[in-house]
């Protein structure tokens, strides 16, 4: 829209200008260096010196320093403690073995292995500094020492390569053929470990090696060997032909000693001590550049360089870790005399020259050879020319479109200029864009489209006689304001208009597409085409559209575009859509719609450039004019095949670290668990987004930019935490890391505990029930015994014989003595009363029992007279001290009376006497009856069982020829 504000020039020059002479001269040469992001390993300690760099299999970048080991994850340098005996180690070598466990070598000759988050010392037979370690075939570790030669460690132990010309080894590498190469002070050594008897060959100046001091070796996959030397730079060596060759452009090496080399796709970066980095393009132009103090690269001592996984180059210099995108980006800064800013238009020509127009005029920049710059149109009359578009036609003429001043044709060799404006057939003098194919040149102007047809005759063309055909809004593009022209592979010509969308010219007909998005403005600024033939165009404030011939698809901020202020579109070699906008560059993969964003992190920002300030040359370099200078961008990598490496770094319980990644079982009350994770993406760590989930809680992925997640109050169970990362929030090929863990149930919820508890409980209950059962049964039996006994006693007492006998006795007494009879009846009734009174009790006092016995005896004695006698030998103190089952003593006496014949001849004498064992002994003499009474069957047995229930002491029965003895235990009154 800004173009509309330009007033059309009223005093357009009427004459066709043919310049007879033209001044062009070299103004300057401009050196350029890639962008380096500088990081300090240890901010607090400026004296840290990085010796070596290493990227491990997980993607972490490690720095070995003289103050220990540091790991960098894109955000932080973490110091890894390897201290032995509290001294900080000087780490000089890092390698990973076949099992991916890390080995570090130290200045003091020590070697350690990183195992289970701890460094464990490996015994080594040397004390010289470890310069380099490599993992050879079959798990053999090769160690280059600085002072004791080369050692290797296999499963038989350490071995030393004997007889080397020099014990100071700078480097050691494995050649693809399997041989080991080492650099020393006295040439380089080729060791063949495949032979049984290890032998080696030394190559030195006598074999053609330019310099004996070989400090660095790099092996190509094809077997080519590059040697970095102390004085003579680099040379290539062929192991087959044994030929050494120094690249032509590096024959006069004066950059000092080489310390390290990193190989990029087309370049070698050579680190030196004192002269920064030498960039040698070993393919293509064989260009040599230096990144040194002179070019504004302030790091002169390069200690180590590696190429990272993302294609970036890591450089160690003193205490700084530098990261560069390497070949990918280059910013050619503004110089004192040439300002590469406010660039209006850029075009790259067939020779690789870059044509640039800005407020200072028109320049031709020779990038490939020496950065030379030529200025064109230096005459005063061109001073205020606004060149907004540049195009090189097939004949090699440079066409310049201007604001207000029409079109110019420049012959680059002679510098001749021809001008075309309204008078020469142009409808409008503001030529915004130029493009063409074969004999047609299309001009996008603020007055529609103009077709410039070349004459067939070369002479006519040289004269500059072109035919101009103008197409205005109705028959042409639909709008008079046309901002861009693009000619696709099929020869169709596409125009971007202001307000009328895109228009295509095909077979002499214009077709306008302006209804692709009804709700939005249709201002098209830039057009390009992908490999599939889809047309892509950028719009004012509405992002990018893809047109596949039928449908339009919009890509705005919600689809992944980082900025709507799009300056222009182009494609890279792989056909990705390159979108240049204010915040940087978006790369969109046209099939997968995957985005990659490059911005501040790689050194480009505020790319506020003009519409035509983007151009792609035939080497696939994309040139962009920016505020900071001219940017060269080449996208060799295809964005889809790499993604951040995702790693869970730490776990916390209640925000307390300590639970290492090895612990995976937590207590029930350790149930607030946090996970810290990272997606390693060094080129833009801030841009990495994450998705995580906790299987066991929910299978739903949650998106976040945070690098930590906390789960509070997790119930007991098995869980799996999964996290993935993406640099573009699209998660198309994510790398997932996971962590399995278990939260234990509290002990009272554990199955085994419940089982054990149930078991113990049921055993207890069983015992209790059994005990109760027994008790009941005992009580039951006691009751039964008692009832039986009572019944028996009652039966025996009320047995008719007893009553008859008593009554007969009574009758005889009544007749004899009525007073005695009364006493007898009283005793009889006492007897029954006592019996009724005591029969319900378990025990009675001895005195009570004796009372009953005496009553009974009184009744019986009336019957048997002196033939029956009963004697008591019981101390009085016993009578109220002991107890016994009721009627037990009486029953024994009854038994004696019942079973023995009592007569004058056979007197019955019963004695009840106390023993010294707290028992009573009942003794009677035996006079068995001739016809015994029918036994009730319960007498003695009943007494025995009753006593068994009540006391542990048994009733003892002893029957001799003449006596019957029963000993009953007494129960002490409690």
């Amino acid at each position: 829209m800004q173009f509309c504000n330009y007033k059309k020039s009223s005093n357009v020059k009427r004459i066709l200008l043919i310049l007879s002479f033209f001044i062009c001269f070299a103004i300057n040469t401009i050196a350029s260096i890639p962008y380096f992001k500088a990081l300090e390993v240890d901010r607090e300690n400026n004296n840290v010196h990085i010796n070596i760099l290493f990227q491990d299999h997980e993607g972490y970048v490690w720095t070995g320093t003289d103050h220990g080991l540091y790991r960098y994850d894109g955000f932080l340098f973490s110091h890894i403690d390897v201290a032995v005996n509290d001294s900080i180690e000087n780490i000089t070598a890092i390698v990973e073995d076949a099992n991916n466990s890390m080995l570090i070598g130290m200045q003091n000759g020590g070697i350690m292995r990183f195992e289970k988050n701890k460094f464990i010392s490996i015994k080594s037979p040397f004390t010289s500094p470890v310069r380099k370690m490599i993992q050879g075939k079959d798990g053999v570790l090769w160690v280059a020492t600085y002072g004791e030669g080369i050692f290797y460690l296999n499963n038989l132990g350490w071995h030393r390569i004997a007889g080397l010309p020099d014990p100071f080894i700078y480097t050691i590498v494995t050649h693809p053929s399997g041989v080991i190469l080492a650099g020393t002070d006295l040439g380089f050594v080729v060791i063949d470990p495949r032979e049984k008897q290890l032998h080696y060959k030394v190559y030195d100046t006598r074999n053609g090696l330019p310099d004996n001091l070989v400090r660095e070796i790099y092996c190509e996959k094809n077997g080519d060997i590059w040697l970095g030397m102390q004085e003579k730079g680099i040379c290539k060596f062929n192991l087959e032909t044994k030929q050494f060759s120094i690249p032509e452009n590096l024959l006069n090496w004066n950059y000092g000693s080489i310390t390290c080399m990193a190989r990029l796709d087309n370049e070698f970066w050579i680190g030196t001590s004192g002269n920064g980095i030498i960039d040698f393009e070993f393919q293509g132009d064989k260009r040599v550049r230096t990144f040194s103090k002179k070019e504004g690269f302030s790091y002169s001592n390069i200690n180590d360089m590696i190429r990272g996984r993302e294609g970036s180059i890591w450089v160690a210099s003193e205490n700084k870790l530098l990261m560069s995108t390497g070949e990918k980006f280059e910013i050619i800064p503004s110089d004192n005399t040439i300002l590469f800013d406010s660039i209006h238009a850029i075009t790259t020509d067939r020779n690789g020259y870059i044509w640039i127009s800005n407020n200072q005029g028109l320049f031709k920049y020779d990038y490939t050879v020496n950065g030379q710059i030529k200025k064109y149109l230096t005459e005063a009359k061109y001073k205020n020319l606004h060149i907004v578009s540049i195009y090189e036609d097939e004949s090699g003429y440079i066409w310049l479109g201007t604001f207000d001043n029409g079109l110019f044709r420049l012959e680059p060799n002679s510098g001749n200029v021809k001008r075309y404006s309204i008078d020469q057939g142009l409808r409008n003098a503001n030529v915004i864009a130029i493009n063409g194919s074969e004999d047609k040149i299309w001009l996008a102007t603020l007055g529609g489209v103009t077709l410039c047809e070349k004459p067939n005759d070369l002479l006519e063309e040289a004269k500059g006689n072109y035919k101009f055909i103008n197409y205005s809004d109705n028959e042409g593009p639909g709008s008079i304001f046309v901002y861009c022209v693009y000619i696709d592979k099929r020869g169709r010509v596409w125009f971007g208009t202001d307000g009328k969308g895109i228009t295509v010219y095909e077979n002499g007909k214009f077709t306008s597409y302006h209804d692709f998005d009804k709700s939005r403005g249709k201002v098209v600024y830039s057009i390009t085409e992908d490999h599939e033939g889809n047309i892509w165009f950028s719009t004012l404030n509405h992002g990018v559209y893809r047109f596949d011939g039928k449908n339009f698809r919009n890509f705005g901020l919600s689809s992944g575009l980082k900025d709507l202020n799009i300056s222009g579109l182009t494609t890279d070699r792989a056909g990705n859509i390159i979108i240049v906008h204010q915040r940087g560059i978006d790369i969109l993969h046209p099939q997968t719609f995957e985005w990659e964003y490059l911005g501040k992190e790689v050194g480009i920002e505020s790319l506020d450039c003009d519409l035509n300030a983007i151009s792609r040359d035939f080497k696939n370099n994309i040139w962009i004019g920016s505020q900071h200078g001219l940017i060269r961008f080449v996208n060799n990598s295809i964005t889809t095949d790499h993604q951040p490496e995702t790693h869970i770094q730490k776990t916390y319980t209640f925000m307390k670290p300590g639970a290492g990644l090895n612990d995976s079982i937590f207590k029930y009350n350790q149930n607030q668990i946090s996970f810290e994770y990272i997606g390693l993406w060094y080129s833009n760590p801030e841009a990495v987004s994450y998705r995580f989930r906790l299987i066991g809680l929910s299978n739903k992925w949650i998106n976040t930019h945070d690098r930590i997640v906390t789960y509070p109050n997790l119930p007991p169970g098995n869980y799996r935490f999964e996290v993935m990362s993406s640099f573009n929030n699209q998660f198309l090929h994510p790398k997932i890391d996971h962590f399995n863990f278990r939260i234990r149930k509290p002990i009272y919820k554990e199955t085994w505990f419940i089982l054990a508890l149930t078991l113990v409980g049921s055993i207890g209950l069983f015992w209790f029930l059994r005990d109760r059962e027994l008790r009941f049964r005992r009580i039951e039996s006691l009751k039964k015994e008692k009832i039986e006994y009572q019944f028996a006693t009652l039966k025996s007492q009320v047995n008719p014989h007893f009553l008859f006998n008593s009554f007969n006795t009574l009758i005889s007494i009544i007749e004899e003595d009525s007073t005695k009879a009364v006493t007898y009846v009283e005793n009889l009734s006492d007897y029954f009363r006592n019996m009724i009174q005591h029969r319900d009790k378990d025990t009675v006092l001895l005195s009570e029992e004796l009372e009953m016995v005496k009553t009974y005896f009184f009744l019986q004695q009336k019957r048997f007279g002196n033939n029956l006698s009963l004697e008591f030998n019981i101390p009085n103190s016993w009578k109220s001290k002991y107890q016994l089952p009721p009627l037990s003593l009486q029953l024994l006496i009854e038994n004696a009376v019942k079973h023995n014949a009592v007569s004058y001849e056979t007197k019955l004498k019963i004695t009840v006497s106390a023993t010294d064992r707290e028992s009573l002994l009942i003794v009677n003499n035996l006079n068995p009856k001739l016809f015994p009474d029918k036994s009730t069957g319960i007498g003695l047995e009943n007494i025995i069982s009753r006593f068994r229930i009540l006391t542990p002491n048994d009733v003892k029965i002893l029957r001799t020829e003449t006596e019957f003895k029963v000993e009953i235990p007494l129960i002490l009154l409690s």
Binding site: D185, T205, N212, L213, E231, S257
Partner: protein, 202 residues
Amino acid sequence: MKQSISKHSLNIRIKPFCIYFTTVLIVGCLCTFSAEAQEMFFIKESKIFFESDAPLEIIKAVSTDMRGVIDPTLHTFGFSIASLSFKGFNSELQRRHFNENYLESEKYPEITFTGKIIDEIDFTKPGIYSVRAKGMLTIKGISHERIIRSVVEVKTNSFELKSKFDILLDDHNIRIPRIVYQKIAPTIQIVMNAVLQLQKIQ
């Protein structure tokens, strides 16, 4: 704090002897290793010239007091020079600054360079050789490995040694106060000439 100061002063007294002994030891070692050779090159005369070319001040000084020995068979060497032997400063003040503030000559009285010649040279064949010497350059007690190229003109029973190299002050922990940055260059150029003569060792 007090304790460390006293330790420090003790060091000052002990250090010169230590360094003296080490140089003697180095030379001694070289002699014993080459017991069979019996013959060694010793410095007969020498001239070491240094220049610090800073924007505001040029410091120049020269010493003719270098001692040294080269073993012609093992190609090992040892050189040492007393820091205090440099003369020819612009002023006495400059000389004092040089010794007290930068080299700390009291504490580190010797500058040594010991090592090995790594390029081929035949001391029995007269001619001009350009060789590299690799060794430890010790200044102010800090050793730094250096590879220094020299031109050697071998004559019968003697040779002339010419060398030109730079020393980075930072390599040897010589810190220049910010205020005198304009007066002392971060790199010092050294030009060295010496004549060595074959001598028999008793």
